[in-house]
């Protein structure tokens, strides 16, 4: 079996991830931050250490300004719905996932002005177009770091610099880059970074979070939920400090134990090495697919500006037919269609049929790439 659907969720995970989940379940098991006994304290330590590891990975100084959520979707919803009010203006790109587009469309109905800056047909965005879109009432710029459709990286550092200069908050959707491409909260001028745990950070599903930069005033972002936090229990009012402000209810500590092991794996192996290896595999995949006359590739040329995501179509078959054959005849798992991102497909001209998407991880091999290229060659030849 060949797994090329890592942009949806990564598989396999490093063995340390499962070991950590088992170890937590067998030997720790306590509820973090709730009780004073050893096992509860140990659980709270795991939660904190995971924040520390994330802080190291994203180069941010205060681990308590990293909060855990279910996934990137929840983090994005938290910021958008907690921050934006009627009369605010928000800028985004035409390459966003529905995790961004749907909450924005919902807010639009409540009087938020949503401006979508078009990207080129290879998915690229000109930072100047963002700058031109800024208005007096612009409260937020939100961009994906890399597209889940084309893998194209957006120029977040330049846009972040513009946002900083104009004193506008900048939220980055790092769902496709966290763990696989360097992210530096400081250098990249990011105020808020939404990440998901189950993709390139190798955690289990149900883990994700939000990095809240030092410049963000948390009083301006209302929590999505309030409830028990284990802190200030004498009060019926919700705490106003981090991380408790945004972390009500018992956390997914089993999942976070696994996520922590995934991040440690990345830190040990080194993000540069992971990136290089994925890039080499992606290069090989792209050059293999390019040789096939029926194949049309999308996204920016080469791999300097993309993560390990490759979308393509063929001139003679629909994406869904190709996906079915890859699964049933060649044992290759990939995702076809619109990838929860109709805006991106409109931008690159593949709406409504979508594309075939191969998304790799550092656990894929050159042989797998060769087999997959051969499979696409055979499938397109048949007709």
């Amino acid at each position: 079996m060949i797994y090329f659907d890592n942009a949806a969720t990564s598989y396999p995970k490093p063995k340390e991830v499962l070991e950590a989940i088992i170890d937590f379940t067998n030997n720790i098991g306590g509820s973090p931050g709730r009780s004073g006994h050893r096992l509860s304290i140990e659980a709270a330590r795991i939660l904190y250490q995971c924040r520390e590891n994330l802080a190291e990975l994203f180069n941010t100084s205060d681990p308590l300004r990293i909060i855990f959520t279910l996934n990137a979707t929840e983090s994005i919803n938290l910021v958008l719905k907690g921050l934006l009010h009627a009369g605010n203006h928000v800028i985004t790109s035409s390459m966003e996932h529905n995790a961004v587009m749907r909450p924005l469309r919902e807010l639009e109905k409540c009087g938020v002005q949503v401006q979508i800056v078009p990207c080129s047909c290879d998915g690229y965005l000109d930072p100047l177009d963002i700058e031109k879109a800024i208005k007096k009432n612009t409260a937020l710029i939100i961009l994906n770091h890399a597209s889940n459709v084309t893998g194209t990286l957006l120029p977040i550092r330049s846009v972040g610099a513009i946002a900083r200069k104009r004193n506008i908050l900048f939220l980055v959707d790092g769902a496709q880059t966290a763990g696989t491409y360097p992210i530096d909260i400081e250098k990249d001028n990011i105020d808020l970074l939404a990440f998901t745990g189950h993709k390139s950070l190798f955690g289990p599903t149900g883990t994700g979070g939000l990095v809240i930069g030092e410049k963000v005033d948390i009083n301006k972002i209302a929590p999505l939920k309030t409830g028990g936090t284990g802190s200030r229990s004498e009060s019926e009012n919700h705490p106003d400090f981090l991380p408790d402000l945004y972390e009500s209810g018992t956390s997914n500590i089993v999942g976070i134990a696994g996520l922590k092991a995934g991040i440690r794996y990345i830190l040990k192996r080194g993000i540069t090495e992971i990136r290089q290896q994925e890039r080499a595999l992606t290069d090989k995949l792209i050059s293999g697919l390019k040789e096939i006359p029926e194949v049309i590739l999308y996204g920016k040329e080469g791999t300097g500006n993309r993560v390990a995501v490759v979308s393509f179509n063929t001139r003679n078959q629909s994406p869904s037919d190709i996906g079915l054959k890859l699964d049933e005849e060649y044992d290759i798992m990939c995702r076809v269609g619109l990838h929860c991102s109709p805006a991106s497909h409109r931008t690159i001209g593949t709406f409504p049929a979508g594309t075939v998407r191969f998304s790799l991880s550092v656990f894929n091999t050159e042989q797998e790439i060769e087999k997959a290229v051969m499979a696409v060659k055979n499938i397109t030849k048949i007709l």
């Binding site: 009780s35 006994h37 330590r45 904190y48 250490q49 802190s231 200030r232």
Partner: protein, 87 residues
């Protein structure tokens, strides 16, 4: 608010006075523990002694003669805490 209570804890060789820091949240307590350990302070997370009221279940105990270093760590890292007590 700092309340000082005198209760010496006798060690094997010499009496070792212990103090605790009380926080508003467990996350802050764990953060302080992590930072103090990095500075080689001897610290331990313990349930808040019953006679000290607090809403957070745990506090951080340390050797009383490290009080200045402990307060330095807390202040430098902007960790909000309720108070410190001598045990």
């Amino acid at each position: 608010m700092i309340i000082i209570m005198n209760r010496k804890v006798d060690g094997m060789t010499e009496p070792l006075q212990k103090s605790v820091v009380i926080f508003y949240s467990t996350s802050a307590a764990i953060k302080a523990e992590s930072l103090a350990k990095k500075q080689s302070l001897t610290v331990k997370l313990i349930p808040v002694p019953r006679h000290l009221s607090s809403d957070c279940g745990i506090c951080l105990s340390f050797n009383s003669n490290d009080i200045q270093r402990m307060e330095g760590i807390l202040n430098y890292n902007k960790i909000e805490y309720d108070s410190t007590y001598n045990l």
